[in-house]
Each structure stands twice: as structure tokens, then as C-alpha cells.
Amino acid sequence: MITQQQKIRQECMVIVEQKEIADSIFELTVEGALTEEMSAPGQFVHIRVADSYEPLLRRPLSVASIDFEHSRFTMIYRAEGRGTNLLAEKRAGDALDVLGPLGNGFPVDKAKSKAFLIGGGIGVPPLYELAKALNKKGIETVHILGFENKKSVFYEEQFRELGDTYIATVDGSHGTKGFVTHVLDRLPADFDTYFSCGPTPMLEAVQAAYPEKQGFLSYEQRMACGIGACFACVCRTTKSETDYVKVCSDGPVFAAGVVIS
């Protein structure tokens, strides 16, 4: 794991834009000084969705793209439960209590010339900033993105602008029918590094598909503090019987083969 001691801030940011970009999928852009602390694609922020005790806890959301010039960043999330549905009600101009940046992102430097970016559902967003960063370094990126169905697909065009992009949908309503692994089965493994974010079964399938490759995976766990203090989000590791990592502060990105999920 990579430990970057960036400064964590809590800021009352301003919402610049919020829009529904796919079925229940929202793109939310906020502005504020906290943006300046961001150090790598794949970091996340911890959002307080209401100034109320209900819902009580913050919600972790990945950073999907950063606009340092305007001190803005964008998140993409699915309005699913109580908290994210409340978040979806917010409008441009509203204030948003954001804690971050949190965690360590994807190690952009590890890729050599070509990378596979493999994402599933709401695991896709952090891969977008990652794709931009890799492209900037001259690394070719291929994007393999899985969604439920056509209506839930987002950012296809944006990814296409950065490299070859393959879409899989569970019901086959767009792109390949099935999971990202169905796409991967048919692609030559002509990359040096893969990066992946999505549901745990997907991460496992991806790791199993490329046991010999260098890979980095972003994990999810239920969180409370988001900063490493509460031990809510631990995972065991393959290092030893007693070794563990905290997804929030040691992760959420880990090298393939490290985390036992």
C-alpha cells in the first residue's frame, strides 16, 4: 500500500452542478479548497448528506474527476439508500459538508505502457480520473466497464475519448451480454498493469483472470470514521494470519493478491 500523508480537510463546499446522467446515477460537482489536497486518482471523500442525526453517518464516495484549475471535483454515485437519495435532492448553490481527501489512490506510476481499467457499476467513476492521469503520462488505457443494463450506463463517451472502451451489461441491452469477465475473455492480455474497481465478486474474478499480471484493486467496506480510527473497515491480508489493513486509510486501493475479501 502507498501511504501519502496529504492533509485531510473538512470543508463546507459549494455544489456547482448536480445532474442525473443515467438511471438513478448522479454526477455531482463541488468546489472548494479541499480539492487542492488531492494527490491521486482513486481517493475518496466522506460526505455528510444532511445536517441531521438521521441519517447519521457520512457516505464514502470516490472522486471521479478533478479540475484543479477551478478547485472542483466530480463524484458519480447511485441514489440507492436513504443517504444517497437525500444527496440527490441537492441543487447547485447548496452547501455540502465534505471530509477528504481520504485514502490512497491508484499508483499511476506503476503502469508502464498499456493498462486495462476494469470497472463495475459504481466502481467505474474513479477509473475516469485514473484514465485521464494515465493518458497524460502517455500510457495507453483500455476500459472494460460493466453495468446492469443500458439505462445504467454512464461516461461511455468520456472513456472512449481516452482509449478503447468495451461495455458489458448483465442483460445484454448494451454492449456484451454478461460481466466484464466475458469481455476480458475475448481480449488479448497485452497490457502490463490492470486497475479495477467494483463489487467484490468482480474484483475476485479479475484477479483470478490475470494471476501473473501486476494489478491494483479498489475495495469497498462499510465505514464509520473513514480515517482509520474506528476499525470498521478492516480486511485480512495474505501476508499473515494476523495481518490486516483498513480500507479507508490503508486503501481503498491495494495491490492484487494482498487483500482477503
Binding site: R48, L99, A224, G226, A232
Partner: protein, 307 residues
């Protein structure tokens, strides 16, 4: 000048605000956010003889105005706490309250004896009330006789004053408080979490892997306040009160109910700066209420309500 200091057995506190055990690790994470020397004291994570890996995940679940946790006392074990965590905290001018957990009396004694020797440990908090560990802990907190014996055993070996952390999951918390007082406790800390559960309505499965967990946060404050109010009138032990404290008014409430100082747990997760924020707001709040000293406020509700 408003006097926010509080004098308790073993503890000379700058102010009555203390992050509660398990919600603040060993301070390292919050030290990235603010200077820990601002705090009244720090209650560090429960320490056991051996390192513990804790329970499977998910370990937390949100509930209405509260949360459940079943961390399972994950901690690096006594040796690492003594060699790494506590020495690291010495850079701050803040007394440490070391939280001691175990499954047998011997466990508690071993940890208490060793950890009370650490130079910055000014008091022990004996966690006899963790609801998330199968093998024990909770029985110590629910049976007055066992609680008393454990208190005696720990007192016999501790170099510093001993506070017993009470469980709210009891019929009669006053009887437990009196028992640990008889056992020689120097103070009480209360409350630990209420045992609760959340299910996923889609599947019927508990959200927490451990099935049940400890309820904390604003939801439990009324229960905590009632217990502090009762216990403070029926024992002479000082109390560090906690349970849902989320703002300076909550601190006032706990002091009014009879707590001498206040611990903040879950609220750290909602606002990681909450402790220093309350520390800063407290003098003005006291002034507004017409008090010069924190200690004047302690137990004012008792004096107001004579049944």
C-alpha cells in the same frame, strides 16, 4: 475568565472533553487533523493481553440517529500498545486514560498492571461492558458481585486510579455502580453501548456480521443521561458521562445530570473536529448560562429536582 478545568482522581483535566474509547484509536488519525493537546484527556482503544483481530465485517450499521458496531475489540495487544502507541502519544500534553479489556480476571489484571505503569497513563478505564465479544466481558458488567471482584483485583495492581465502564444493558445500573464502588473503584465511566440489531429487510439477514452490535450515538442519549442522573445521586464516585454527546449542549446536559466530565464517541465519525470544537465553545456556553466554572454545573439537575 471561565474555568474549564476538572479535577478527578488521577486526572487534572484542562477541560471536560474526552474522546471515548474505540472511537479515537490511539490518537494517530485525529492527530493529523488537530493538536491532541487541546483535549481534556484521551480514552484510547480497549487493550487486551494478546493482539485481537476482532469480528468479521460488516462491523458497523447505521440506525435512526445512531449506529451499531461490533468491532470486537480489535487492538494490537498489550505489548505493542506499551511499546508503540502510548510512547507515541507522549509528545502531546494530554493525560491518557487506558482502556482495559479481557475475558478473564487474569487478563484484566495483567493488562491493568502493565499499562498503568506507562508514564502518560493517568487512569485506567476498565471495560466490563463490551457487548461484542462472545467469550466474556459483558458478564463482568451485568453481575454486581463479579463486577466488584474484578474491581478489587484490578485496583490491587493498578498504579493509577481505576474507573469502571458500566454497561447500560442491565436492570439496575445503580447496584452495579455501588458494587464497584465497594470494590474500590475511583470513578465510573458510562455508558457503553446498548445491545441492538439491524436487519436487511430485503434478505432478513443481520447487517452486522456478528449479528448484534452495540448501539451508540444521539439515539441513546436519553438512556445515558437517565443513568448518569440516577447513578450520580446514589454513589459518591465521579462519573465520566457519555452516550450520544454531539455538541456543547449535550455536554451541558451530562454535566447537569451529574457527570464530572464527558466523553465523545460516535460524534467523532460525523464531525472529526467535534472535540476541539466543543472545547472552544464551552467557555462561552458557560458564560451564557451564568457559570464561571465547569465544576459548578456538575449535578445541577439534582438540586433542581427534589422529588
Amino acid at each position: 475568565m471561565i474555568d474549564t478545568t476538572v479535577s478527578l482522581p488521577g486526572l487534572e483535566l484542562k477541560n471536560p472533553i474526552i474522546p471515548s474509547s474505540g472511537c479515537f484509536g490511539f490518537g494517530k488519525e485525529y492527530a493529523r487533523l488537530y493538536d491532541l493537546s487541546q483535549l481534556g484527556a484521551i480514552m484510547v482503544k480497549s487493550t487486551t493481553v494478546e493482539p485481537r483481530l476482532g469480528n468479521p465485517t460488516p462491523r458497523v450499521a447505521e440506525t435512526a440517529s445512531g449506529m451499531l458496531n461490533a468491532i470486537g475489540l480489535q487492538n494490537p495487544g498489550l505489548q505493542k500498545v506499551m511499546e508503540e502507541e502510548l510512547p507515541w502519544l507522549e509528545q502531546y500534553d494530554v493525560p491518557i486514560i487506558a482502556n482495559v479489556a479481557g475475558t478473564t480476571t487474569e487478563d484484566y489484571v495483567e493488562v491493568a498492571k502493565a499499562i498503568s505503569q506507562a508514564p502518560n497513563v493517568h487512569a485506567l478505564e476498565i471495560n466490563i461492558s463490551c457487548p461484542n465479544v462472545k467469550e466474556g466481558g459483558i458478564t463482568f458488567g451485568t453481575d454486581p458481585a463479579i463486577a466488584q471482584q474484578l474491581t478489587q483485583a484490578v485496583k490491587a495492581v493498578s498504579r493509577v486510579p481505576v474507573y469502571i465502564k458500566l454497561s447500560p444493558n442491565v436492570t439496575d445500573i445503580v447496584s452495579i455502580a455501588k458494587a464497584v464502588e465497594a470494590g474500590g473503584a475511583d470513578g465510573l465511566t458510562m455508558i457503553n453501548t446498548l445491545l441492538g440489531m439491524r436487519l436487511d429487510p430485503k434478505t432478513g439477514r443481520p447487517v452486522i456480521a456478528n449479528m448484534t452490535g452495540g448501539l451508540s450515538g444521539p439515539a441513546v442519549k436519553p438512556v445515558a443521561l437517565r443513568m448518569v442522573y440516577e447513578v450520580s445521586q446514589q454513589t459518591s464516585l465521579p462519573i465520566i458521562g457519555m452516550g450520544g454527546v454531539s455538541n456543547v449542549d449535550d455536554v451541558i446536559d451530562f454535566l447537569s445530570a451529574g457527570a464530572s466530565a464527558v466523553a465523545v464517541g460516535t460524534a467523532n465519525f460525523v464531525n472529526p473536529f467535534i472535540c476541539p470544537e466543543i472545547v472552544n465553545q464551552l467557555p462561552e456556553k458557560l458564560q451564557e448560562l451564568g457559570y464561571d466554572k465547569v465544576e459548578e454545573l456538575v449535578g445541577r439537575s439534582h438540586r433542581l429536582c427534589v422529588r
